[in-house]
Symmetry: C2
Subunit: 485 residues, 2 copies
């Protein structure tokens, strides 16, 4: 897709907008935002040149962009059309985006749980692939036409992005745009966790949660680059075949089995490395599974995500169970606890470049290769996010900037009729999950051998208050629903 | 020294015992303990064969041993003579000890602050060097006459030790017994911290506290095996020349300067690795000095040691300021916090063997070489411990099992006359230190940005109670002293 297509896109988008007024659907519909400044992904604050100063051709420059309009459900991410050519500063490049990667942080961000995304309205997205369309002054190592993958704190979910050249990496030969968009966040995360913090060596053992997710698959592949590493991977049973083929030694169905017990059965002494994307009580479990000289690497709080909107109970529970450790406990156990999140590492261009060099090297040697679960159009970002949140993916979910074909749109419109029912189902599912979550959490009182009982009591009081509020709300909702039926 | 010397030693020891009744001195005097079971360092519980069953030659087998008789000051470690040949189990070897290493844990243990030493009476000591005198059944990789260095949880400060063969390592050619006794604990500690937890790489920066101590010098040498590593080393000014020659890039006098400021001046972004043997508020400072992807490695609580006897205020202060961290804080900082102590790793023979192999390899290549500060006779263990505790050493302090010559003893006896005065001085010094410590700690209120204020208040109350008790005690002592003068 080239710049010339843009006006047509805008037209399509406007059509969509007209539709939108009739029937609000989950997928974001493109909205023209002629007054919104052109987005410069890396320089949020960069003021756009006033429209009056622009040359006519720049004036006509438009591109579609996904915009988070406020915190909430999947429908808060809307497709809009931005107008005006983004300004290029020295050292920056403009990329015509082909594919964008979806990450857990994007889901957290939509619910207002990720502080590295600027306040809405803002374009989310931490990674993309595409072709360089323009280079700023002082750029010597990139040229127009270069195929690159790009990484940024936010702003990657749109057709055109502007980033410092240091945030782009030349795609190796043979790499698809899907792979290039799927690679940066997951593989840098897996690489830095396992090889910098983890110092993974032959014969060691690693626990990989959500082993069928983007980081899970990347981590499993990274483990396979080291001799005789045993990988314990959690995933629902239906994904076991795929993750086992991908390199997981022992697949564990966390929905039907206690993964701590399963690990102990096979490895009574415990593990060398635990990668923990879950947070809350799972961090305690991971810590207790460590061997001497073992490393727990915490890189998320996926347990906070329950349902499409912010679930205060899930958030409070995750906080309540949040892991903390004293240095003397670490000394007596000869253990290490690490925290990792690429979103807080965005200024460390050198560290990231080093990791990326190694990863691209492994890709060229055929040792790692992103697994694409599915590709969605920008218009379908809601479905894409839903699939990830409900953990129905095996591998990476990517968004393509390729516009939907007319016949696809008609298909989608038909589906939309079923959407209202689906939404109701979702609501029920969410409520059910909350209920289940509550019951489950009551059972989970392990991992609290840590001191600070006083502190916890305090937290508990606050949490209970929130819980009560939430329960009241839910009761009201339930009543409202019953009244409808 | 061979087995034949033992009876002579016993005689000398008995002479000393007679002297002891007249004038209690700081140095431990040998005491015959005919009823005490022969010490088997590795198997504390191994029952000695009943004397009646012993062959006459075994009956005559005696050896000198340092024994911690109770928790307290330097005089709690006494030289005794043990009788009866230690029993050798399958897989064990008996070593005729030449030299023993002194470690910080030994000082902590004497004060009752180290839970890995069995209760007194017990022979302390975690490392020694010597010659294999007998091998048990099933030992194929060691033979009588092998020069070895040995490592154990305790029991190494005596002329004869029995350890599993896996706890011994053949001394490389050219290594002296002093070096061999100085190497195990300090170099394994430095190696595992820097290369396993720390994953030290070229161009990184490391903070080494107590850079003139045993671990400090070992860590500095290890850093020098990696290209372009910057070492910040703290030590009092008089030691700067030596540690700079040894590889410290920036020597910092922690007594006159704020090391945090000094580090920031040179490395505003902070450090990649902080090795923290101090504990308390220094752990917080170290954590705050970390760069993204930085690692804090805590391996002791030397701040607890103040004066020769357990100082409840210092202990409480160190506990009060003890570092604890939440996983979300680690995630947002991309940081790692590790704890290391070899004493809790004694069953991990494979890990230790791997580290030792690498270290002995580095020794053979001339890349690491223990620096011996001084050698003391077993009789002088009190002086040795004092030197270490007062941080007057540069490098390792070792004990030799070589008996003191008659003229040396006479010299010592003369010194003893001055000992009573010295003791009084010590008392004054200790009291002064406590006072200074109190004042200093009041100033140190940084690093407490951690949550858990509730908890801290609780701790504070308890601490204050102890402080008051301690103050009252001290006041009484002060008065008593004034009355004497």
């Amino acid at each position: 897709m080239s710049g010339e297509d843009a006006p047509a896109q805008q037209q399509n988008a406007e059509e969509q907008k007209n539709q939108e007024t009739k029937k609000p659907a989950e997928e974001p519909k493109a909205e023209t935002k002629p007054d919104s400044p052109p987005a410069s992904a890396a320089t949020e604050a960069a003021a756009a040149p006033a429209a009056a100063e622009k040359a006519p051709e720049e004036e006509a420059f438009t591109y579609r962009s996904l915009v988070l309009t406020g915190y909430g459900g999947y429908d808060k991410v809307k497709l809009q059309v931005k107008k005006g050519k983004p300004a290029l500063k020295a050292g920056e490049v403009m990329v015509r985006v082909k594919m964008c990667g979806l990450n857990f942080a994007d889901l957290m961000a939509r619910q207002g749980l990720y502080d590295r995304l600027p306040s809405p309205p803002v374009t989310p997205g931490m990674e993309c692939s595409g072709i360089i369309e323009a280079v700023g002054e002082e750029v010597t190592d990139r040229k127009v036409g270069d195929k690159v993958l790009a990484l940024s704190r936010s702003g990657m979910w749109q057709e055109v992005v502007v980033v410092p050249t240091t945030h782009t990496f030349i795609m190796p030969e043979g790499m698809s745009f899907e792979e290039a968009a799927a690679l940066p966040v997951n593989y840098i995360t897996a690489y830095m966790m396992l090889f910098d913090f983890g110092h993974l060596r032959p014969n060691q053992s690693v626990l990989v949660h959500m082993a069928a997710g983007g980081v899970g698959i990347a981590a499993t592949q990274m483990c396979r680059t080291v001799k005789d590493v045993t990988v314990f991977g959690t995933a629902s049973a239906s994904k076991h075949e795929v993750i086992t083929e991908g390199g997981v030694t022992h697949a564990i169905d966390y929905r039907t089995k206690d993964y701590v017990e399963e690990v102990r059965k096979i490895s009574p002494k415990g593990l060398d490395i635990v990668l923990d994307p879950l947070g809350g009580s799972d961090t305690h479990k991971g810590y207790n599974l460590l061997k001497p000289m073992g490393k727990l690497i915490s890189y998320g709080a996926a347990n906070m995500l329950s349902g499409q909107k912010k679930n205060l109970i899930a958030v409070a529970k995750t906080w309540y169970h949040q892991f903390s450790v004293h240095s003397l406990s670490l000394i007596q156990g000869n253990r290490s606890v690490c925290g990792f999140h690429l979103g807080y590492l965005d200024t460390e261009t050198e560290l990231i470049a080093q990791a990326m060099d190694s990863i691209l090297g492994l890709y060229r040697q055929g040792k790692v290769k992103p697994r694409i679960d599915s590709t969605f159009h920008l218009e379908q970002v809601g479905d894409a996010m839903r699939k990830m949140q409900e953990r129905n993916n095996i591998g990476k979910i990517v968004l393509t900037t390729e516009p939907m074909k007319e016949e696809e749109k008609k298909e989608e419109a038909k589906k939309d009729d079923k959407k209202d029912d689906k939404k109701k189902d979702d609501k029920k599912k969410d409520d059910k999950k909350k209920e289940e979550g509550k019951k489950e959490e009551k059972k989970k009182e392990e991992g609290k051998k840590e001191e600070k009982k006083e502190e916890k009591k305090e937290e508990k009081k606050e949490e209970k208050k929130e819980e009560k509020k939430e329960e009241k709300k839910e009761e009201k909702k339930e009543e409202a629903k019953k009244a409808e039926n």
